[in-house]
């Protein structure tokens, strides 16, 4: 980042904290960017001529006579078609050794879409994974996170979903990504021959944590360029949003703000909503779909981060290891896609909603039977059948290694129903039973 000749250089810092420094300056705009001894910073508070700057990479080693230059603008990203296939850091500077982007400068964290200019999402995104397509169908313009403990293979599942979804661009926003995971994504996209439609903004564990705060806005500014200007279908992957929220709490703590639940800032809901609400379907075909990862600690979804996320996103996908079959499954109880009803039974076969609900209900019966069994009670014949059904259902449909079309998922479900139950026990509308219940051979 070069400074321009006419810019005023300040050299007298009056106060330094762990995250911020203050100085006397005039004519400064709120949220303006500055460079403090070569480090990027942003104006977070102005009182009279006292200006407080948040330094993204921290204040370690900043002297009181550091050189401060204000850039006269908020954070920006240069956008253009050349973004495709490139890797950037949290500031939008290339990290792949390639040339810098010569494009139009756009402010990041820009305004929201007017709700009346949105279109209701209606395009189904098949992923082949039945735990998603059958029970939690995804739709373009949706925003949905994986809720997973850190040891779950969420990066694998997410990259699989990304590659199978038919998107014009895939934008990866990596926050606190380990170097290994960063290389994993790079490899998977490369092997799939998809690198030219991928754009990455990456903050790894080796980078200062507070820099992460910029990543989602960078990724989404690029996404808006392709979705609005180029009318493309854009898929944005954000991982790990828990580390993003942690960075927010570091900043607010260091700025002495009153923490609310779980030492998160009181504005966490609004902060997260500003990001996730960038997901949108436009009437002219452009769209932004956001798939994120929110890691949990010990599966606790009442923690402020997953809790606020769940109130914002359009559902969540829960990964869990099913010890009965030894595979990772998409948990049908705790997962939810709130937009599924816009496509299931409409873009997919008419029996889809009822089959989905019936199977989950029977799976719940099995869970009850299991509790009974564990408490040492005798099982009824129905309980036994429910348990057998649950095992098959988990193995043939919920496991993340399933990769089939939706019609196939539905017929597998009907087969499992007829194998283990009577129609009355399944409780589906008669017209569907008449049509789809497998005939005795």
């Amino acid at each position: 980042m070069e400074t321009k000749a006419f810019q005023k250089i300040y050299t007298k810092i009056t106060q330094i904290t762990k995250a911020t420094c203050s100085l006397k300056a005039t004519g400064i705009g709120y949220e303006e960017m500055a460079i403090v001894n070569g480090r990027l910073a942003q104006v977070v508070k102005i009182i009279g001529d006292d200006v407080t700057l948040q330094i993204f990479s921290g204040t370690e080693g900043i002297p009181t006579n550091a050189e401060v230059v204000f850039l006269g603008r908020p954070p920006v990203l240069k956008v253009g078609d050349e973004l495709s296939g490139r890797f950037f850091n949290a500031y939008g500077d290339p990290i792949d050794g390639g040339p810098s982007i010569e494009g139009e400068e756009r402010q990041i964290g820009g305004p929201s879409v007017n709700p009346v200019r949105r279109k209701q999402p209606s395009e189904f995104i098949p992923t082949g994974i039945a735990g998603i397509d059958l029970n939690n169908a995804l739709v373009t313009g949706q925003k949905i996170p994986f809720f997973a403990d850190p040891d779950q293979p969420f990066n694998q599942v997410m990259s699989m979903v990304a590659l199978r979804a038919d998107a014009d661009k895939i934008i990866l926003g990596g926050m606190g990504l380990t170097n290994d995971d960063y290389l994993y994504y790079k490899n998977v996209f490369d092997n799939a021959g998809a690198l030219d439609r991928i754009i990455s903004f990456v903050n790894t564990t080796e980078d200062p944590p507070v820099e992460r705060i910029l990543v989602p806005d960078m990724a989404l500014t690029a996404a808006e360029y392709f979705a609005v200007d180029k009318k493309q279908k854009v898929l944005v992957l954000l991982t790990d949003m828990t580390l993003y929220a942690d960075a927010l709490s570091i900043v607010s703590n260091r700025m002495d703000q009153i923490p609310s639940k779980d030492s998160m800032p009181g504005s966490l809901y609004s902060d997260l909503a500003k990001i996730y609400e960038k997901a949108v379907q436009f009437p002219d075909g452009g769209s932004i779909t956001i798939i994120a990862v929110t890691t949990l600690s010990g599966g606790d979804i009442t923690h402020a981060i997953p809790d606020n996320t769940g109130y914002i996103t359009e559902g969540q996908l829960f990964l869990r290891k099913d010890t009965d079959i030894g595979k990772v499954v998409v948990d049908p109880f705790r997962s939810l896609s709130r937009l599924k009803q816009l496509v299931i039974g409409k873009k997919t076969r008419a029996d889809h909603p009822q089959v989905m609900n019936a199977a989950i209900r029977l799976y719940a019966d099995a869970a009850n039977a299991k509790t009974k069994q564990e408490n040492g009670f005798d099982l009824t014949d129905y309980d036994e059948r429910a348990l057998k059904f649950a095992k098959d259902y988990s193995d043939k449909l919920l496991a993340i290694d399933v990769n089939v079309e939706v019609d196939q998922m539905l017929s597998t479900s009907w087969n499992l129903f007829s194998e283990h139950f009577e129609p009355a026990e399944v409780g589906i509308k008669q017209e569907f039973v008449d049509q789809f219940w497998p005939k005795e051979s």
Partner: protein
Amino acid sequence: MEKTNKMTKGKVAGIIANLVFVEVDGPVMQNEICYINLDETKLMAEVIKVMGTQAYVQVFESTRGLKVNNTVDFTGHMLEVTLGPGILSKNFDGLQNDLDKMDGVFLKRGEHTNPLEDDKKWEFKPVAKPGDVLEAGGWLGEVKENWMPHKIMIPFKFKGKYTVKTVAQEGEYTIHDKIAVVTDENGKDIDLNMIQKWPVKVAIKAYKEKPRPFKLLETGVRVIDTLNPIAEGGTGFIPGPFGTGKTVLQHALSKQAEADMIIVAACGERANEVVEIFTEFPELDDPRTGRKLMERTTIIANTSNMPVAAREASVYTAMTLAEYYRAMGLKVLLLADSTSRWAQALREMSNRMEELPGQDAFPMDLPAIISNFYSRAGFTYLSNGESGSITFIGTVSPAGGNLKEPVTESTKKAARCFYALSQQRADSKRYPAIDALDSYSKYAEYPELEEYFRENIDPEWPEKIRLARDILIRSREVSEQINILGDDGVPVEYHERFWKGEVMDFVICQQDAFDKVDCSASLDRQKYMLNRVLDIYHTTFNFESFEDVSTYFKRVINTMKQMNYAVFNSDKYNESEKELNSIIEERKVA
């Protein structure tokens, strides 16, 4: 309303996010609106605290780029809405800007649009005659807004009595045309057109009396109407963890409830949920009038990504519009999703001002703010003998799903109906996930309402509702015992008792919001179905073993669900009912 004379000006002295300190050169009023000049745009802001010559203002937009010494113009009035024909079917933001009139895909900071139409002609019919003496809210005439008679009234700000001098003849007028001249108590003539303004944080009290609610407001949702009824002019709230069905339930109410007008305040929630309303409502029929649902609906959209300070304004804007239509003698249903987001907006600002925080860092006066807001709903008699009502139902999004948090607890004190959504029911897809037993309606115990039920539904209705709840309670109790003692550790009758409760749950409490037929049940139908379920409860069956019980009642439930899915009294319905009768005969003890 106090007015400051010469308009005060000011200069920006400090900025922390959307809290701005303004050095002022004259008097300012608490809650006064001001505009901060930033380049070519004007950022709207509201005074929330005054210290000496510094006004603390909350800005309704992003403050990015704002500088110290930017100039500020004060307006002398509080946040106001414009009231007049043209509000129905609109999509407003929290400050009553018409979202459809805005340019471009993105919301532009500082863009303000007209909530009404200046040139549109309305078909006006006089209601008052010269010589009539009216007070604020008195009806002068009416125009047809969509299909509704929209009353043109003496402005709410007017105090005392006014004698009508002239009223315009039947004909077409714009909102700015003179439609009446009235004379005040001092003999001064005042020209009136169709519009007036009102500050949103002040309740409109242009009514004679606010009696206790005494009538049922039909919603078509069985677990509400039958088991936890809400009264016309009543208040209720729906707390629940995310994903348990708050929004789906509110949308169902907005589609089916028997109201003249629906105002939906989308407060700090998802934009796509608003899109759903304005995409689907223009296509959906209002079963009562045959008109499109959108014709009776107004949306206030201040979604979670829109400026935080305007979230607070949005619920007040919605309530003020509701009060305006109530004064026309209409039955208004106001829905707000979610009032927790509004409370959070208050919290963000209170923290920024470094006020002493209450529980969970919410402002200390949160309970008072919430109860004050709920108290604006109600059934009213107008001074001309007509009646109008606002029924208000808000959702609450408790942090971590824990109902012992300040917003839920404060709301519980203010609202008379409590519709508790249960995570467990949602997980097992028992929708709507309202826990019929944890929930309550205080109206169900009002003698006025019991009277109403006996006269309009069934002479025994209150007893039947109590029995229905008992059946659910007993079923829950035996299910706990069965869990502890095991299926064969309890008598077969226990299983029967459990399953009779399950019939009540599946057939009455559960309802498929996404099924064209099942989504809404008329009162007749609800009564019929409850009677059928109670008949089954009163029937003695013959079972050998507990396994027979569950298999049998699953068939009963399945058949009754088919009835719920079929059009009332259609062939399909009658067929299922015939099947039900024969299933019952199989094991009935004569």
